[in-house]
Each structure stands twice: as structure tokens, then as C-alpha cells.
């Protein structure tokens, strides 16, 4: 059993820096815009996987409905873009010009009230973050205050994902139905379909992802991160140490929702549409698989896991489209059974010890040295993690 502790404090900034260089320099230099745009799309899923590391890996809250938040963020952005693409000039041939085309097809004669505020870009940006956060907050309060957890919670989130999909598909006139919101063109007059726009959006996406990684790193290194680990193990003890356990669960669930929503909005911008096929049960479970493959306790693993699985999916489904679902199921079972800590766990057991040999022996040897004598082997394995927060001054 690898200890959760080993992972905390492992996120040395150097690892984050390497990822940043890969995303910001290597990928853009190595790929044409078509492939880079594809990577950008995958990276939007990494936001969701990152959220899952926090709420599932650390908080122990398995949500099988993160697609809901990805979708909410994506739809908020899509509504803004769709309104901009539906100016009266562009839609002059419709029976009601000035409303999105799918509304016109569905015999709507006026813009529904909840679409109105999405004329404003400022409101849209707020909505991308706040709508999913509020929704997660409501679910969180309803579930965690009642102490619903584990499998029950997972099933409920799955049900919510299913319900939202059905709702979106059923309310065609308001949502674009099963096709989703398509044919998006400009953002405040800036054409998002051009190659240069795709480059810029890729970089915005990468910077946002790095920002979320830094935020996630801050959270897991704070006392709140340690509390999450403690709660997974001994929820009662945390409660009887004077913490309102449900408020921490609600918080981390909301953070995961906001990350997912940012990913969703960036998806809409980079891919040019949003549809219910990213909201439902299947995409939500796929996101969990990305997270598990990367290692559910590793925030950087979430990014690598997402890229790897999606790369495999793309290559695989080109040749054997009908086999992909089975392959992914097998991958998930394989990872969970054989490598519960995913890629990050493999890296830690096999790669890092080798790297360590190239480095100078660590000069730090103080208090923890005394302990390792008594604790024997096990203490030495946790040593490097401990040092980072040796007493006084938790950076």
C-alpha cells in the first residue's frame, strides 16, 4: 500500500515547470495547428480530471457526473457565442430574425428570458464559473449535510448527469437538443475559427490549466489538503476535532466543479460547439478513467493521464472504432487492479529512484534522521516528503 502521504509535497515546482514547458513550448513547436487544436481539446478534459484528483483522490468523493459541470461551463460559453452568431443580419431569412436558428426551427418567436443575459460577455464569464459552482453547492449541501457518501453519492451524481442530458435533449427549442449548440463563429467580433485564433486559444487554455494546477497544489499543500486526507481515513475523528466535515466536502466539490466548467468553456471556444454528448454518463465516466490512469493522487498525473488516454483513443478508434469502449473498460480495470496510483505511481516507483541516483545525496539531515533510525525503512521512504514541511514555516 503506497501512502497518500508520499504524494503530498511531491509536486515539486520543477515537475510543474516541465509540464509547462511541454505544453507551452514543445507541443506548439512540434505540431501543426490541427494537431495542436486536438491537444487543446484533450487538455480541456484535463481540467475535469484535475478536479477529480482533488475531490476523489484527496476528498474520497467519487463523482460520476463531472460532465454536468463541464457541460454547464461549455453551454454558458456556447450561449454567448451563439447569440453573437445570431445577429438579425445573419439570421434575416428566419421567420424570427435575431434568435438562434434552432429556436426558429422549433417555432420559438422570442428569445427565452434566461438567454437574455448571455448577450453580455462579462456576465457569461461570471456564469461559466458561478452557475456550476452554485449547482455543485446545492448538490453538496443536499448530499453532504445529510452525510450521503460513497457509492450512494456516486449513483446520485450519475443520475444527475443522466437527468441533465435528457433535459437538454428534450428541450430542443431552448437548448439545441441532441445536436447541441453549433455553428459558433466569433467572440466579440474575433473569429475563433481561424488558425491564429486557435493558436491563441490553445495558449489561453494552457495558461488556465497551469493556473488551476497551481491552485490545486496550493490546496493540497495547505492544512485543508491534510484534512481531506484525514477525512478519508477517519471522518469521525475530524468531526470530533471540531471541523464541520460537510463544509470541506462541499468546498472541494465546488472547486472540482469550477475547474470542470473552465474546461468546458475552453472546449466550446476551441472546438466550436457544445452538445449533450459531453454531459452524460459516458463522458463523466471517461473523465474518471483519465484521472485514474494518471493517478488519482497526482495533479500532474491528471494531465498526463488525460493526454495519454485520449491519444490512445484517437489512434485506436481510427483503426478499430467498435473496440474502443472495451479497450477503455479493460484499461480502467487494469489500472485500478494493478496500478492503483496510475502513471504517477509508476513514475514514483520506477523512474524517480533512477533519477535520484544522478543527483547529489541530499544534504538535509536533521530531526527526521533521528526518527528514521527508530522507524527503520518506512520512515526513509517518507523522508523526502516530510522535509518539505519540516517544522516552522510551512512556506
Amino acid at each position: 500500500m503506497t501512502k497518500i502521504k508520499d504524494f503530498i509535497g511531491r509536486y515539486q515546482l520543477s515537475h510543474l515547470l516541465i509540464l509547462a514547458v511541454i505544453l507551452l513550448v514543445v507541443m506548439p513547436l512540434a505540431m501543426d495547428i490541427f494537431r495542436l487544436n486536438l491537444v487543446g481539446k484533450y487538455l480541456t478534459y484535463a481540467f475535469v480530471a484535475l478536479g477529480l484528483v482533488l475531490c476523489w483522490g484527496y476528498g474520497g468523493i467519487l463523482s460520476l457526473g463531472q460532465g454536468v459541470f463541464f457541460g454547464l461551463g461549455g453551454y454558458c460559453m456556447a450561449m454567448f457565442l451563439k447569440l453573437e452568431a445570431s445577429s438579425p443580419e445573419h439570421t434575416a431569412i428566419q421567420s424570427t430574425p435575431g434568435i438562434p436558428d434552432f429556436m426558429d426551427w422549433n417555432q420559438l418567436t422570442a428569445l427565452p428570458w434566461f438567454w437574455e443575459p448571455f448577450h453580455s460577455f462579462g456576465f457569461t464569464l461570471l456564469a461559466v464559473v458561478l452557475v456550476p459552482a452554485l449547482f455543485a453547492f446545492i448538490i453538496g449541501v443536499a448530499m453532504f449535510k445529510r452525510r450521503v457518501s460513497g457509492v450512494y453519492f456516486a449513483i446520485i451524481t450519475q443520475a444527475i448527469a443522466a437527468i441533465l442530458t435528457i433535459l437538454i435533449i428534450g428541450q430542443q427549442g431552448y437548448t439545441g437538443g441532441v445536436n447541441g449548440i453549433t455553428d459558433l463563429r466569433t467572440l466579440n467580433g474575433w473569429d475563433i475559427r481561424t488558425d491564429s485564433a486557435k493558436y491563441i486559444l490553445y495558449f489561453i487554455n494552457a495558461f488556465l490549466l497551469i493556473g488551476c494546477l497551481i491552485a490545486a497544489r496550493y490546496i493540497i499543500k495547505s492544512k485543508l489538503g491534510r484534512l481531506l486526507v484525514a477525512m478519508r481515513e477517519r471522518e469521525d475523528r475530524v468531526r470530533f476535532s471540531g471541523y464541520d466535515v460537510s463544509s470541506f466536502k462541499i468546498f472541494i466539490y465546488c472547486v472540482a466543479a469550477v475547474f470542470s466548467a473552465i474546461g468546458g468553456a475552453m472546449f466550446t471556444l476551441q472546438v466550436g460547439f457544445m452538445s449533450p454528448s459531453f454531459v452524460g454518463i459516458v463522458p463523466s465516466i471517461e473523465m474518471v478513467i483519465f484521472c485514474a490512469v494518471g493517478g488519482r493522487l497526482s495533479i500532474l498525473g491528471a494531465v498526463y493521464g488525460t493526454l495519454l488516454v485520449n491519444w490512445a483513443k484517437t489512434s485506436f478508434s481510427e483503426s478499430f472504432p467498435e473496440l474502443w469502449l472495451f479497450a477503455m473498460g479493460a484499461l480502467f480495470i487494469g489500472v485500478v487492479m494493478a496500478f492503483p496510483n496510475g502513471l504517477a505511481g509508476l513514475y514514483q516507483t520506477y523512474v524517480e529512484p533512477r533519477l535520484q541516483r544522478f543527483r547529489k545525496p541530499a544534504p538535509v539531515a536533521s530531526q527526521s534522521q533521528v526518527v528514521s533510525l527508530e522507524a527503520g525503512k518506512t520512515a526513509t521512504t517518507t523522508n523526502s516528503a516530510d522535509k518539505e514541511y519540516s517544522h516552522a514555516g510551512n512556506q
Binding site: 495547505s222 475523528r237 476535532s241 471540531g242 464541520d244 470541506f248 526518527v371 522507524a375 517544522h391 516552522a392
Partner: protein, 254 residues
């Protein structure tokens, strides 16, 4: 009113339990129980297995909701509060099986129990400053783990885990400390150390202890309450309780 005043001593009560009843599907694990704990008192609850001892602690700390009755702690009615609010009011509780965070170090175990930054924002902005470090070290020395601060808690012996959990309560500085079988699984010398520890920490607080080890009980108890089938069977000094025929019957007839 007058009558109750006569039957109970005139000292300040930290904890007054009156008419407490809890029923699990009709089975009354605690039945119309009344119990009063004074300031700076060490009270020990003894009783046969299944007498309802742990359930009484569960009721006080909010883990189980009472069916009837009242629990007043320094004038605050606890039955209406949540677990964490009860902790904030000044009640700390140790579980029957050592309940610590095995994935974290001794230092971190104590630090998480330090009463600061207990809400989301506080936890995000919590800083390990000199005050925290000093307090953690002070408590660690008190619970005989001063040289084990960096050790992962799962490597501690059973007795040390018990101490660590006591330390996690002490760092909260509760006015009422409740310990469920604190010396279970401890060696003789560890028991002695624990007894001394309890004597020392009771200067600023009241302690409610559940224990089976009679020698240990005799060592620490100011007064003893014997619980049987959810009710108080006998109460008083150790000698008095031990010579009570009702108590003898329950223990021997068991």
C-alpha cells in the same frame, strides 16, 4: 426543584445529564439516566459489557441523538448542537479504538487538532507558526511522544496511539475530556504513565473516563459511577461502590 438541590452536592457542575434516554428500535441502551460531573473531577464510569457506557459518551458528544432528556454543559444544552459545535463548546472525546490519522505524522496529527483555522478559509490560510509548533511540542512531551514527532502515526505502538489520541484532545484544551477505555491494550508501565498523565491534566478540566481495569480506576477516580442496562446502579467513591451489594451481584452474577 428543592429536592434535587438537596440530593446533589453544592459544587459547580460542568456537566449535568438529566433523564437521558436513547432507544434503538425500542431497545433502550440508555434509560432515564442522570449524572452530574463537577469541575476538576475525574469521574470513571464502569459497568459490564453492553451496559451503555460508550453510548453515554456518544450522546454527550453528539454522535448519537438522544430520544429524551437533557445534557447541559456549563449551561449550554448539547442535545441541540452538531458534533463540531459541541467540540467548540469545550468537549473532547477519545474513542474506544484508537482513532488517529495513520497516514500522517505525529506532528501533523497534533497540528490538525490545534484549535485554529477550523473552517474552510481558516484551513486554506493556516500557517505553521511558532505558536503552533511550540504547542505541538509541549503536548507531545506531555504524552511521552516528544521524540517521535516526525514518525508516521501507523508506526506507533498501540499504547502510543492511545496517548496520541489523548494528545489530540489535549491540544484542543477542552473543559470536559471524555476517554473511552484509554488504557486498553497498554502494558503495566504504560498504564502507570497514563494514570499520572490524567492526574496532571485534570488540574484545568473535568475528565470522564470509561474503564474496565479496576486497579487503574482505583488509581485515578475521584468518584465512580456504575452503569447497568442503561441505568445508574451505584455511585460514589471506589470503596463504597465496591462494597455495594447491587454492584457485587451484577459483576458476580455475570
Amino acid at each position: 426543584m428543592l429536592e434535587t438541590n438537596k440530593s446533589i452536592p453544592q459544587k459547580e457542575f460542568v456537566l449535568s445529564i438529566e433523564g437521558l434516554t436513547v432507544s434503538f428500535d425500542g431497545f433502550k441502551a440508555v434509560n432515564d439516566l442522570s449524572l452530574y460531573v463537577e469541575e476538576q473531577e475525574i469521574r470513571v464510569i464502569i459497568g459490564p459489557n453492553g451496559a451503555g457506557k460508550t453510548t453515554v459518551l456518544d450522546l454527550i458528544c453528539g454522535r448519537t441523538k438522544a430520544t429524551e432528556g437533557s445534557i447541559k454543559f456549563k449551561g449550554t444544552e448539547l442535545t441541540r448542537l452538531n458534533e463540531h459545535q459541541i467540540v467548540h463548546a469545550g468537549v473532547g472525546r477519545k474513542f474506544q479504538n484508537p482513532s488517529i490519522y495513520e497516514d500522517l505524522t505525529v506532528f501533523e496529527n497534533l497540528e490538525l487538532s490545534f484549535p485554529r483555522g477550523r473552517n474552510v478559509w481558516g484551513a486554506l490560510t493556516f500557517r505553521r507558526d511558532t505558536e503552533v509548533v511550540a504547542k505541538v511540542k509541549e503536548i507531545a512531551d506531555m504524552i511521552f511522544l516528544g521524540d517521535k514527532l516526525d514518525m508516521n502515526a501507523d508506526l506507533l505502538s498501540h499504547g502510543q496511539k492511545q496517548w496520541l489520541e489523548i494528545g489530540m484532545l489535549l491540544i484542543q484544551d477542552p473543559e470536559l475530556l471524555m476517554l473511552d477505555e484509554p488504557v486498553a491494550g497498554m502494558s503495566v508501565s504504560e498504564r502507570k504513565q497514563t494514570a499520572e498523565l490524567l492526574q496532571r491534566i485534570t488540574k484545568d478540566r473535568s475528565v470522564l473516563v470509561i474503564e474496565h481495569d479496576m486497579q487503574f480506576v482505583a488509581d485515578i477516580a475521584d468518584r465512580v459511577t456504575v452503569l447497568h442496562q442503561g441505568q445508574v446502579l451505584s455511585e460514589g467513591s471506589m470503596e463504597r461502590v465496591q462494597s455495594d451489594p447491587k454492584v457485587i451481584e451484577v459483576y458476580l452474577g455475570h
